[in-house]
Amino acid sequence: MIKSIAIVGSGPAGFYAAEALLNADTDVRVDMYERLPVPFGLVRYGVAPDHQKLKRVTAVFEGIAAHPNFQFFGNVTVGQDVLITELETAYDAIIIASGAISDRKLGIAGENVSGSVSATEFVSWYNGHPEFRDHNFDLSHPCAVVIGNGNVALDVSRILAKSPEELASSDISKHALEALSTSKITDIVVVGRRGPLQASFSIRELRELSTLTGAEPVFDPSELDTTDISPEELKDAERMLGILKGFAHPDSSRQAPKRIHFRFLLSPQSIQGTEAVDSITFARCKLEGEAFNRRPVTTEGRETIPAGLVLRSVGYRGSEIPGVPFDDAAGIIPSKEGRVVDLEGQLKSKLYTAGWIRRGPSGIIGTNRACANETVEAVLADLGTSSIACDPALREQLLVKLKTIKPTNVDFSGWQRIDDLERKAGEACGKPREKITSVSEMLLAAGAT
């Protein structure tokens, strides 16, 4: 008998899980539930709007969605519109791939003052996420500080540094392009607690910064103390250091109107400002510990940087779905080889997980493919050993109920209508697409109202 699988979330992990299931020898049907009316998770709302080549991965997801045994249910929040217990009744297995979009806090004084925000909020805003499009960011102060040493920090810095002309050919949302066009920011300071050797920037994203037309990356080589560093560590970080060192001698003849400064060994201590951020204070750090395992330890030294915007990019965490075990400290769903376990380590039958909600927010799009494949192997192994399959009538009943409780759910053809309108709107202004940024307009475009 055909087995029915529900997937929660339509990001890379959800789609690669669907791909692996539909390519397997077992006869399966996949129903994908997504909170938003539109698919693709962080590929649409995380990956930077000026990295269009990466966004081409959605063509692969569209190919998966075209499989006759695949169905998409957008605008349906699992845990709210449909409960986990309902899915457990209707399906043979449920794979949770709900991602990790909540932000982590710095836990310092002044963090909640206006102008101190998470990179998540900023990224979601410029990418046109419906829940963030009405946010406002004060771009009137000449300096913005970005805390974090990963690619998200580079993304937000690059978007702040690019000229409106450079951004105009991306699919950055209209409201963000307008706001950034009036930005007074000239100096973006990217700050890490550890040293340059420990930064987790990708070579590609770092190198990209030297190609900006209106901004120059700047690195002060005196921040690089290599006296105690092992040759292995140096070799490992060789290419990144090479690029950073290339930023040490900015071309003074260029007089770029904006600069991206790389600063290291600074740990945020407090944010000052009453109405809004006016500066941020750091403790200078030194590194302790073994090679490849060095930790920053604060010293007496302090440094205050005046700034009007502080963006923290210090990690994402997942959100709990009612009915699914959740490890609150780690911000993930606890699991073993993709099988969900409760906090005591007991297997929760029928529940599986993949992607950022399983592993935490690390790894790029493709990492989720290997991750989802492993999860699907576990699903197929378990399905293979159980001779009973859920009565397909139970799934039918749930889908009938869904039509009445959530008549505005969007199927994949509904998304394709949204996609089509967005591309046409983009064409009119020389962009790959102009995203629809409100749920009600999305539903209208999908014909789901």
């Binding site: 690669y16 080549k53 692969v60 590609r204 790029i364 799009i365 493709g366 990492t367 493919r369 494949n373």
Partner: protein
Amino acid sequence: MPHIVTDNCSSCRFTDCVSVCPVNCFHGDAGRLYIDPDLCIDCGACIPKCPVGAIVEDIDILGSPLIDLNAEKAASLPVIMTKQSPLPGADKRREELMAEGLV
């Protein structure tokens, strides 16, 4: 500017690279793999997965015949979507490359 599989991959094929490629753009024969430059989205996921450092960005080897070779071979060889079992020579190849300091 796609990613390119270099000759380090010859007679090795651990194929860990394939399991993380988001767009299935690896093609191959019994000997080694090649990347389809028209499909590769330059995500970089495959680079750290390759135990012998066989994958590079084309801008790092500009002018190399490997760039055309990847395009040609990818066009004629089948897609490799899932991790294969390593060829018998795989571990030996890794040892050789390590000995030569190429990894």
